[in-house]
């Protein structure tokens, strides 16, 4: 499931598409803040800092194009959130979309949840390709007809029309979060979902917007005593009573909603003991978990901290079963990264469909993939230079010291403004979406 140097069962990643402006000047509103495939992989949604959601749909695989899979084209674009002003606190609420989560498809329409810092919205995306013609009470222009002038009745006929994709907000879940929402997760019961902010986690019913249940609250009575916040949360993919949440101290708590109404007491507590030899002033900051994701199987979960990705077996709390170094060469630069705020960057991570590989982003528009079976890893780059159709991506390497080989890049030459924070892997195929600032890259495996 991984790109390799070639040969044998290895396959290679190729460029497929890139979406977004080519300009050097990036408009802040265009910066992509979340990427998510739907359950079938047919749709790919992105949210940006300007509060917009853009959904791409994969075209049907045509017989003519055997060498590549269908391309993703824009399906729908809509403004999900607008900037708001909290008059009580004199605060502006950013419209930036923090997370998008799809609901499983149950009818012809598609549903997704999108969240900014304070509000979650349920959007219905539906197609309309027919219109009714021949109304009795209104004429062709839509003007109402005088009912007393109607002498005959007719049955309206459905006529084809150009496909129109409409997005409409069906529910607005507001006023439940004092702090900034960092996660939303749809439960496996397809009826409820959770939303998490820095200090609290709420459980919602998709049909009910005027109330939610608070299931985790770590706010101390005295805010002076606050030393730890919630950084991410996710529902278990199969057990609708189980969810996990991660913290800024590098811990993960698994909670069972059957145990108590308020899940402040965890059922399981995952933490890796600190290596005393590598302790520094930045140990805590780099241990802060920026993302947590269950495997599709539900047996494992993956966490991302600043320098590594860890895979945990839910049955073993005292240490992860696998640890992958993303960019260990940054360990000696932590002071500078603290100074320029890069140490606070929140990288996400994702599983492939079969849970055999994991992917996460890094700097310089690099992203990393790890094969859990072969233990091989690869670094690839999302750049316009490698943007020729079906161009094979060349593995990249960062030189950590000594003599720099050809094609290697030294640590000091890395561009820390080009960060890949959001990536997504198609649920069934080897197609990945990588958000590089304001561009969305789609890569796929080379079909031999």
């Amino acid at each position: 499931m991984m790109a390799g140097a070639g040969g044998g069962n290895d396959f290679q990643w190729c460029f497929s598409q890139v979406k977004g402006a080519v300009d050097e000047d990036v408009a802040e509103a265009d910066i992509i803040s979340t990427v998510e495939f739907n359950y079938s992989g047919e749709l790919l949604a992105t949210g940006d800092k300007g509060g917009r959601v853009v959904i791409f749909q994969r075209e049907q695989e045509s017989k003519n194009r055997l060498l590549s899979r269908g391309e993703y084209n824009v399906y729908s674009t809509f403004q999900s959130h607008e900037p708001e002003f909290d008059y009580l606190k004199s605060l502006e609420i950013e419209e930036k979309i923090n997370k998008i989560r799809w609901l499983p498809q149950q009818n012809a329409a598609h549903f997704l949840l999108s969240a900014n810092d304070k509000t979650i919205k349920l959007w219905k995306i539906s197609e309309r390709d027919k219109r009714a013609d021949g109304y009795n009470l209104k004429d062709e222009d839509g003007r109402l007809r005088d009912p007393f002038r109607i002498t005959t009745l007719r049955v309206p006929v459905l006529m084809p029309m150009d496909l129109m994709v409409e997005a409409s907000p069906r529910r607005i879940f507001a006023n439940a979060h004092t702090y900034h929402i960092n996660s939303i997760s749809v439960n496996s019961d397809y009826e409820t979902y959770l939303s998490a902010d820095d200090l609290r986690i709420n459980l919602w019913h998709l049909e009910i917007t005027d109330r939610s249940f608070n299931i985790v609250d770590i706010k101390p009575a005295n805010m002076e005593e606050l030393t730890e916040v919630i950084t991410a949360a996710e529902c278990h993919p199969h057990q609708c009573n189980v969810f996990v949440y991660s913290s800024s101290k590098g811990t993960i708590r698994l909670c069972d909603m059957r145990a108590a109404a308020l899940c402040d007491r965890h059922s399981k507590f995952f933490e890796e003991p600190e290596d005393p030899s590598s302790r520094s002033f930045f140990s805590e900051i780099i241990s802060s978990i920026s993302d947590v994701k269950f495997s599709h199987s539900g047996r494992y979960m993956m966490t991302r901290d600043y320098l590594s990705v860890k895979v945990w077996d839910l049955n073993m709390e005292n240490r992860p079963v696998e640890t992958y170094q993303v960019h260990e060469y940054l360990r000696s630069k932590l002071c500078s990264l603290y100074e320029n705020d890069c140490i606070f960057d929140k990288f996400e991570c994702c599983w492939n469909g079969s849970d055999s590989a994991i992917m996460t982003g890094s700097y310089n528009n690099f992203f990393r993939m790890f094969d859990r079976n072969t233990r091989r890893d690869i670094t690839l780059e999302a750049s316009r230079e490698n943007s020729k159709p079906r161009a094979i991506l060349k593995p990249r390497k960062v030189c950590t010291g000594g003599k720099r080989k050809k094609d290697e890049i030294s640590v000091d030459s890395l561009d820390f403004n080009k960060k890949i924070l959001h990536t997504a892997w198609h649920p069934k195929e080897n197609v990945i979406a990588v958000a590089a600032t304001n561009n969305l890259y789609i890569f796929q495996d080379k079909m031999n």
Binding site: K89, H180, M223, E224, L226, T227, S248, F281, E284, C335
Partner: protein, 264 residues
């Protein structure tokens, strides 16, 4: 028995490691305080970021305390001669009379003894004064308390050479300011004073009340972070991070403080 030369060599290695650690401590402190203050100015700082910076500052604080404690454990056994009577430091107006110049006329040992004793007496006196002043200032001033950058200013009081490039420019300019009697006393005083608890003005989201750099803490950590010019000339004089304030500067500071707030 270990030869004297070998002992010294070990000591120098220790110093090398220690100074690297110290310089990182200094950097982390500078950066953290800078971020802390910037975030204070924001209407709604990011909670995760605030907590992480806060915890880092606490870590630095505890490291500094540990250093000071280890220094005090080292200093006391080194007393060789009866030290001058420093009890007269408590009323600071008499400070000028009781102390003589620390400059290099003394022998090495005397100097260490004297400065270590002076340090602690001075520290306690200054911290007491600063505490009182803080109480007064905090009561008097409102939100503008958060505008000051107190830590940096106190660092400015240490004599040159400055420790890092970052603080050097500020150090020299502030020092000049302090030395000029014609300058507005408020500006000098502002720079001296600590920003105890600006978060009292921001109830909900500001959790940094937990990290309040008291005058006590500040003065405690100063000895371990600053180095005096005389230290560079005689390396054995100053153990890692021992503060040595020029008496004239201290007197000047005292004068300013007393003139502005005579009641304390």
């Amino acid at each position: 028995m270990v030869a004297r030369g070998q002992k010294r060599k070990l000591h120098r290695e220790d110093e090398g490691r220690g100074s690297a650690r110290e310089s990182q401590l200094q950097s982390v402190l500078d950066i953290s305080m800078d971020k802390f203050l910037r975030d204070q100015a924001l209407v709604e700082p990011c909670l995760l970021r605030s907590v992480l910076i806060n915890n880092t500052l606490r870590q630095v604080q505890s490291e500094v305390r540990a250093q000071v404690e280890s220094l005090s454990a080292v200093k006391i056994p080194m007393k060789l001669k009866p030290e001058p009577d420093f009890t007269q430091l408590s009323p600071p107006a008499e400070h000028n009379a009781s102390l003589s110049s620390p400059n290099a006329e003394n022998t090495e040992d005397d100097f260490m003894v004297w400065t270590s004793e002076e340090d602690f007496s001075l520290s306690s006196a200054i911290s007491a004064i600063l505490k009182d002043l803080d109480a007064v200032i905090d009561a008097g001033q409102g939100p503008c308390a958060s505008q000051r950058a107190p830590l940096r200013s106190v660092e400015n009081l240490t004599p040159c050479p400055p420790r890092t490039e970052r603080t050097s420019a500020v150090a020299s300019s502030a020092k000049t300011e302090l030395m000029c009697p014609g300058r507005p006393q408020d500006a000098a005083l502002d720079k001296l004073l600590l920003d105890i608890d600006p978060s009292v003005f921001e109830p909900e989201l500001n959790l940094l009340q937990g990290f309040s750099v008291t005058a006590d803490d500040l003065v405690k950590y100063l000895p371990s972070l600053s180095k005096s010019p005389s230290a560079s000339s005689s390396s054995s004089l100053v153990s890692n991070g021992q503060a040595m304030w020029e008496i004239q500067e201290i007197e000047h500071v005292m004068d300013i403080l007393m003139r502005t707030y005579p009641q304390s």
